[in-house]
Each structure stands twice: as C-alpha cells, then as structure tokens.
C-alpha cells in the first residue's frame, strides 16, 4: 500500500515518458530513409525529441553531433525522473547514476591509453548532468595527461581506491582499470542493496541485478574460454564475486571444462539453461540483452509500483539511444534495411 502511494506519481510519469520512446515500427521507417538529415527531421517530429530539438538545423549536424545529442537526452530524462522522485527513489537513482560516472571515466581512460594526442574526450553531453548528480570534476579529469595524474585527480572520490589498487599491479592495462571500476560498482550494489531497499524493491533489485551478474559471469567464462583460451585461474580472477542462481560448483565445472560439448552440457543443467530453452552457449552474447530486457519488463509489469519501473525505463531509454545510433550508422552507410533491422533486433 505504501509503495502504491509513493510510486503512483512517478510510475504514471514514467509510463507517459515510456510511451514517447521510439518504437520498432518507427525504427523500421527510419531505416527506409536515405540520409542522415532526413533521419533527424524524422526524429524532430517524434514526441521524444520534438521539444528539445526544435531549434536545431538538421542540415548542419554531423552524425557524431547527433550521437552526442542522443546521449544528452539520456541524462536529460534521468534528471527529469530524479526531480520527480522522492527520497527513497532517489537512493536508487543515485546508485544507478554511478554507472554514468564509470562510463565517462572509462571514456577518459581510453583516451589516455590509446590516442593521447588526438582530441580530448568531449564532455559536453555530461557536463550539465554531472554538475547536478556527481562529485567528479570533469574538467580537471579531462585535463590529465597520464594515468598517474588521472588517479591523483580522483583522490577523495570513492573510485580512487579501486583504481589506485590496480596501479600497484605490474603492467596494468585499460581493461584492468575498467574491470576494477565495474567490480567495485557491482559489489557496491550487491552489498548495499539490503541497507537501501526493503520489501518488493529489494526483491526486484536482487532479481534484476542478480541475473545480470550471473549472465555477465557466464559471458566472461564463455568468452575467455572461446576467444582467449585463458587458464582457469585467470578466469576466476575476473569473475564478479556475486552468485545469484549460479552455484559455485556449476561455475567451477564450467571454468574447468575442457571441451565445447562438455561446456554446453554443463550449461544446460544450470538455472538459465533450464529457464530459456533456446539459449545456447554460442548465442549467449546476443541473448544477454534480450534476457535482461525480458526480466526487466516482466518485473515492471508484475510490480508496477516498485523500483523496477525506474530501472526498466532507464534501461529502455539507453537501449533506444543505442538502437537509434545503430540505425543512424546503417542509414549513413546505406545498409540494406532488412539487414539493418537484424543488427538492431540483436541488440
């Protein structure tokens, strides 16, 4: 009952916002268009972008700029929800927004590692959002020229500790730093969930994130075995130290298995193998998104007055932007609409 009251407003708002998101039919129409300005003109007519983009000149915009604008729209919508949310709901949103922080940190680190001399990371899409929701000083961080400075600039922030730990390892790579941030974030979610949430919310969070972590672990295992031929010990070192439905023995067996058939048989016997019948070890990559979306939608439908609604909307919004970005790319390079739709559906 309490949930019904506290979520009734935000749930209605989210439903309204969700209805504006670009649908698959619209994407199909977009794919029929012949060039990028037309796509922008099309988007300018949709309810999601009509208001914010009304002053833009579609002919002068580059595809990269459009992608930034799309990214900005994620943060814009997040802020709208945040403003509407009460204290309890903001706890979740605060936790969730760290994902964006990690995203921008990774972008900056990529820049530091790969092409130091090219343009710095464009932080304009993030600026507005970070002023409101984050303690990170983006200007200072983007001004750094190497990892040492970057880590030093983070001093006092929660991400300092995991990153500085990695620095102690010999020959630390971009992947290790990114992994450290992710692991830190995931374990934080898993560890604080019981303190922050209760009742239905706790249940939804546990399911959503638990399945996510399990799936990520499965992905890690399959990927590292299939593509990188890593030793079991190296694989273990990368796993997210959280188990939801995957048992320790199952993970052990999966990691130690030697042949492809053996792996597949082992996977069949796990919770996920039983739950999703057409899920196979080889299409796990593609299925990860489908499954996550499926879980979130189901939860949001079952419990429309819970935190699952927030999570589900934020996921869909990001997903919409991702798909639009692919669509734009396909239009730009003249990919056949049918083939393009395949790419989009896979994500």
């Amino acid at each position: 009952m309490g949930n019904l009251l506290s979520y009734s407003g935000i749930s209605a708002k989210i439903r309204a916002m969700q209805s504006k998101l670009t649908t698959e039919e619209q994407l199909l129409e977009i794919l029929q268009l012949s060039d990028v300005p037309q796509v922008i003109a099309y988007l300018k007519r949709t309810p999601e972008y009509a208001e914010v983009w009304k002053d833009l000149d579609e002919n002068s915009l580059h595809r990269g700029q459009i992608e930034k604008l799309l990214k900005t729209s994620i943060f814009h919508n997040f802020s709208r929800i945040y403003q509407f949310a009460n204290k309890e709901q903001r706890k979740f949103l605060d936790l969730y927004s760290k994902r964006y922080e990690i995203r921008v940190l990774k972008e900056i680190m990529t820049d530091l590692f790969d092409h130091r001399d090219t343009d710095p990371v464009d932080i304009t899409p993030y600026c507005e959002f970070f002023r409101k929701h984050s303690k990170l000083d983006l200007e200072q961080l983007t001004a750094c020229t190497n990892m040492e400075e970057f880590i030093a600039a983070l001093k006092g922030h929660e991400f300092y500790q995991p990153l500085s730990q990695i620095r102690n390892h010999e020959s630390a790579l971009l992947f290790d730093y990114g992994m450290a941030l992710d692991l830190y974030y995931f374990s934080q979610i898993w560890n604080v969930r019981k303190k922050l949430f209760s009742g239905n919310d706790l249940k939804e969070i546990t399911t959503a994130y638990g399945e996510k972590f399990d799936m990520l672990n499965l992905q890690f295992i399959f990927r590292s075995k299939k593509f990188f031929h890593m030793t079991p010990a190296d694989i273990y070192a990368l796993l997210i130290p959280m188990n939801y439905k995957l048992k320790k023995e199952e993970i052990n067996a999966l990691v130690e298995s030697t042949t492809h058939e053996q792996t597949r048989a082992l996977f069949r016997r796990t919770y996920y193998g039983k739950k999703y019948e057409h899920l196979e070890a080889h299409n796990l990559e593609e299925f990860y998104n489908v499954m996550l979306r499926d879980t979130l939608e189901k939860e949001a439908r079952r419990d429309p007055y819970s935190v699952a609604v927030l999570y589900s909307y934020l996921y869909h919004k990001e997903h919409e932007v991702y798909r639009l970005t692919i669509a734009l790319e396909c239009v730009r390079y003249g990919v056949d609409p049918q083939e393009a739709l395949q790419y989009i559906r896979n994500n």
Binding site: H169, L183, T231, Y236, A237, P241, K248, V255
Partner: protein, 644 residues
C-alpha cells in the same frame, strides 16, 4: 627645541680605530655619515676594508639564540669579548656532540627499519624463518594477496590445488602470508597464484629464530632507537635551557663588538702602504662636540676637525629634538608626522600646549580628568608609553576645564561653574541668532590659532629666505592681513561696535587678495627674475582665480573646523546626562551607583578616544599644514650613551 649640531671629522692611525671607538664614541653620541661620500673632493681616499673577526662567532651564536624559546625574557649579563668567543666555542662543541649522536641513531634506524618492515606482516608465523628459506623439496613464497582475489581463490581453487597458504596477518586491502608447494608442481601453482595477483615479498636471510622472535627483537631495537632519539631531543632542549643566559649574554657582547667593528664601513682610509690613517665624519651636538674636543686634547693619536665659520658643513644636519621632560611625550606626534628639518621650528612645545588645552576644553570633567591624569601617569612611569604621558598631560587640562564648567563625573550641580556651563550658556550673535556660547568662543579661539600659525609660517619662511611664502602666500603676510581683517571685523560685529568705513574695508580685504592672486609674478619680480609673467597669461589668470577661490573656501572651512571644540564640550555634558538619567539620578532619590560607575568608564573611554583623535586631526590638518613641513632626518647615534 632642536639641538645645535656640529660636523666633525675625526682621524688617527688606522690601527687605533678600535681604541678610539671604545674610549670615546661610547661616551659621546655621534651620527656618522659615510666618510667616502662626504669627502668627495679628496680622491686619495679608499674604503676601510677589514674582515669582521666576530662575524662567524656571531652567526653561530645567533643560530643558538633563534632556537631559544622566549629569549627576550633573559636579561643579558656583562661579558667581555674573549669570554663570549670561548662560550661560543664551548657551545659549538657540545651541540656538535649532540648532533653527532643524533645522526648515528638515524643511521642505525635507517639500517634496521627495512628488515623490520619486511618481517612485521609475518610476525605471527611461529616457525624459524631461516629454516624455511633453506627448504629444498618444498617451494615457498612470502607475499600478499588482495582480499577480493583471495576470496575467489579460496572459493574456486584452493581446495583443488596442492598448496598450503598460511595467513599471517591482514590489513584493509591485503592478506599477508606464505604458501608452500611441492617442488614438482611449483611451476604450475606459482602461475595460479600470480593469476590471483599474489605479490611476492622477498625475505632476506637475516632473521634469528622464528619470525615471532625475530620480530620482537627488531621491534625492541626499533623502540630503543626511538627512545634514544627522544632522549637526544630532550638533551638538546636541556642544553639550550641550561645555556640560555650564556647564549643571550654572549650574543649581546658579540653584537656590540661586531657593530663597533662595523664602524669601518663608514670610515675612509688614506692611501699608502704604511702610516695610513682612518677618517670618520659625523654630527655631534654642539655641547658634546666641545666636550669631546676638550677630552681628546691630551690624546696624541686622535685629531679632530670641527666645522667653523671658514669651512661650514655642506649637508643639512640631522635633527635631534631636545625638549623639557614635560613635553617629551608629545615628540611622538611630531615623529608620526615627520621630524622638523634642522633649520625649522620645533613645534613640540606648541603641540603640547594646544593639544592638552583643546583636549581639556572638549572633555572638561574634574573626576574623569583626574582618572586620565593618574591612569596615564602610572602607565607612563611603569610601561614608558608616550601616549600615556600625553593622556596624563591632557588629563590635567581636563580637570582644569572640569572646574571651569563645574562638572564632576557628570554631576553638574555639585560644583559651581567658575566660567560657564557649555550646555546652557547662550549668546546672541548678529546675523546668526542665539547660539551656545562655547561655539562662538571655539571659533574665536580657532581664528586666534590660525593667525598664530600664520605668524609661525612667516618666521619659518624668513629663516628659509623664501619670498613667496613670506609675503604673498595664503599663510604669509598677505594671508595674515586678510584673515586678520576678517577676524577683526567678526570681533567688532559680535561685540556690537561699528565696522570701519567701506573704503578702509576695501583696502583691508582687497589688497591682500590681489597680492595672493598675483603671488607668482610678484615673487618673480622681487627675486629679479627675467620672466615675470608666465607665457600663457589666460591660463594663469584662470588658474589663479580658482586657486584664490579655493583659498577663501579653505579659510572658511578651517575656521569652522574649530567648531568641534565647542561641540564636544556640549556633547560630553549631554552624554553624561544620559548616564545619569539611566542611573535614575535625575528624578531625585539615590541613583544606581553601578550604572554611574560603568557609564562614567564607558564615556571616559569612548570620549577620550574620539576627542584624542579629533584634536590630533586639528593639530595635523589645521595647524601643521599652515607652517610645518616635517622633512627632517633623525639623529641616529652610532652608539647610545652608556650612562643612560
């Protein structure tokens, strides 16, 4: 009064300079000038160069002195130079011993701290370390592993692996420990450990017994070293405290020697290999100079030349004020404004009189005046504060005016007013109307002061042979006549007498104004310069016109400025009335004495401050600006007279 100065040149054999300084310059105050700069026409002089032998000892004692806590509290004792130098040597030796001990301890500490740091995380290992290090068929590694990886390791791998991990200790991030593997599997298992980010720590074979014993031995050693360092620190402090008197005394003695020695910097030498002479030049008061000359008459190694009529000194002498004891505190105000030049009039006595008088008039109260007098006197005698002396003087006049106004601690009815009550005494002034009498008197007094200052200015200017400032300036004779005419007319007007005839008035006001208007050409005329009028005549007339306008305005504003004397006399009475009202003394019956006392203290402090500042402003702005330049330089004796 400004002391008369005489310029002296002292000379003697080069080697005799220290004896001369020691014997005579400590008795006679002399303001030295750089001899080389003074005696420029004689090219045969060179600077007196010699290395100061006390410099090194002085530097070293100064460094000790700086380490002392609160060195001012120690009174230096008399010490001769040899003792001072030997004290410095002794102190240097002792402190060197202390610092050598300290360095030795630091070295020991640096040597053992690494092995202690290595063994610390493994101190719970109850096994002989060097035996482990000698294992042949079992491989081992000391090290640490991050907690998150260790958890994964324990969960997924440890049970299946032929290895033993001994956890020794942990901190926030890591588990420390040692693991063992059989030799034939070592390669594989080392790889697993390194996958789990196990970081090896190299343990040298330098420990005795079990890790626990080795740690406790090293830990004790470490503590001992720290204790010894602490002790060393205490010894150093002790050393400073024990020697504080010696340090302060030796520093004072060496400083005196060194500065006497530094007299060479101001001296010059005659040229030549042998028979060189030093030359010192400087200023002495006339009295000192004569006494000094008499003193050295029998000393055949010193020759002294004094300026006289034939060879007068070329430079302006420094200023040394010499005033009666009573006026001496007021020298502070003069110094704040700027010392008078040597040939200028010393305004100290004038300031002393007017300051105290005006202060008294503005703050007339018998009780509070006496408080100021005694308070100031006590502070002046004990703390030697000049300001307190000034307050004390002002207090006397305050008391005096208290009697005149009949006011004691704000009670107006107790004493009979010898003169008038500032609040109530009124007076009719033509053209203005009824006014407080004190206002009119204040203005009158102000006019008198302004006239006096003009006279001073004329005297100073005559002495300086400054024609413009003597005759045509707004503070010169022209100004004096003009302003005097105004003052006279005002007096006649107020006293109800008839004014002089219009023609006389026109001459009285018109002529001085014209003179002031034409002061530049007139000066040029008197000084017989070629060009009388400046080239741009129009510009000159416009400028002079506005200057004249400004002069007239400033006469008015400066006169009105003196109104404040009357205003404060009234305000004092009014403020005390408020105090009495608050205390309930006005309605009869017994007043609240606490409020009376606190109110009196408050008014006394606040008015004392405000009146003190206002009078100073009158002095500087209305009085000094008329006649006083204050651009003299101070007489700085090379050595203060010792008998003082």
């Amino acid at each position: 009064m400004i002391e008369k100065m005489k310029f002296l040149s002292i000379t003697g054999p080069k080697a005799d300079i220290d004896r001369m300084t020691e014997t005579y310059l400590s008795r006679y105050e002399i303001h030295l000038e750089s001899a080389l700069a003074e005696l420029t026409e004689d090219a045969n002089l060179s600077p007196f160069l010699e290395i100061n032998p006390y410099r090194e000892a002085l530097t070293s004692i100064s460094s000790f002195y700086e380490q002392l806590e609160d060195p001012e509290s120690v009174t230096p004792q008399k010490m001769d130079t040899e003792t001072a130098v030997s004290v410095v040597r002794r102190l240097q030796k002792e402190s060197r011993e202390l610092s050598e001990t300290r360095e030795k301890l630091h070295a020991q500490h640096a040597e053992m701290i690494d092995s202690l740091k290595i063994i610390r995380p493994f101190r719970n290992l109850d096994y002989d370390v060097s035996e482990i290090l000698k294992f042949q068929y079992i491989h081992y590694r000391f090290g640490r592993i991050e907690k998150q990886y260790f958890k994964k390791f324990e969960k997924y791998i440890y049970d299946a692996l032929d290895t033993i991990f001994l956890k020794c200790s942990e901190d926030e991030q890591y588990y420390y420990g040692v693991y063992f593997v059989p030799k034939h599997q070592a390669h594989k298992i080392h790889a697993v450990y390194s996958s789990m980010h196990f970081e090896q720590i190299f343990v040298p074979d330098c420990y005795q017994g079990t890790a626990k014993e080795a740690f406790s031995i090293l830990d004790k050693l470490h503590k001992d070293i720290h204790a010894a360092l602490e002790q060393n620190k205490k010894d150093s402090e002790r050393f400073l405290i024990d020697n504080r008197t010696a340090i302060v005394s030796a520093k004072a003695a060496l400083e005196a020697c060194s500065s006497s020695f530094d007299i060479r910097r101001l001296a010059a030498c005659t040229k030549g290999e042998n028979n060189t002479f030093y030359i010192l030049c400087g200023w002495m008061t006339e009295k000192d100079a004569l006494a000094f000359q008499a003193d050295i008459k029998d000393d055949d190694k010193i020759f002294c030349l004094m300026e006289d009529e034939q060879s007068p000194a070329k430079k302006t002498p420094p200023t040394k004020l010499h005033n009666p004891k009573l006026f001496r505190p007021f020298e502070m105000y003069i110094k704040m404004y700027g010392l008078p030049a040597y040939n200028e009039m010393d305004p100290t006595w004038f300031v002393a009189l007017t300051y105290s008088f005006i202060f008294g008039a503005m703050f007339g109260d018998v009780g509070q005046g006496l408080l100021l007098f005694f308070g100031g006197l006590i502070l002046y005698k004990t703390k030697h504060m000049d300001l307190a002396g000034i307050i004390s003087c002002a207090g006397i006049f305050s008391t005096f005016f208290g009697f005149m106004y009949g006011s004691i601690f704000g009670f107006e009815e107790v004493l009979h007013a010898f003169w008038l009550k500032p609040m109530t005494a009124m007076m009719d002034v033509p053209l203005v109307g009824r006014l407080n009498a004190v206002f009119v008197i204040a203005i009158g007094f102000g006019m008198f002061l302004i006239l006096t200052c003009m006279v001073f200015n004329i005297i100073n200017s005559v002495r300086n042979h400054d024609t413009e400032k003597t005759w045509f300036d707004s503070n010169a004779v022209a100004g004096l006549v003009f302003y005097g005419s105004i003052a006279l007319s005002a007096v006649l007007l107020v006293s109800g007498k008839k004014l002089p005839a219009a023609a006389v008035m026109a001459v009285m006001f018109g002529v001085p104004l014209l003179l002031m208007f034409l002061k530049e050409p007139l000066t040029n005329l008197v000084e017989k310069k070629k060009q009388i009028f400046p080239e741009q005549k129009g510009m000159f007339f416009v400028q002079s016109f506005f200057e004249l306008f400004e002069v007239l305005l400033s006469y008015l504003s400066n006169t009105l400025s003196f109104l404040r004397i009357g205003a404060f006399a009234v305000s004092h009475a009014a403020m005390m009335e408020v105090v009495l009202m608050l205390a309930g003394a006005t309605e009869g019956g017994s007043p609240n004495w606490i409020i009376i006392v606190l109110g009196n203290l408050f008014v006394c402090a606040m008015e004392g401050l405000i009146v003190g500042i206002q009078v100073l402003r009158l002095e500087y702005y209305e009085i000094f600006s008329r006649f006083y330049a204050g651009n003299g330089r101070e007489f700085l004796p090379f050595k203060k007279r010792e008998c003082q």
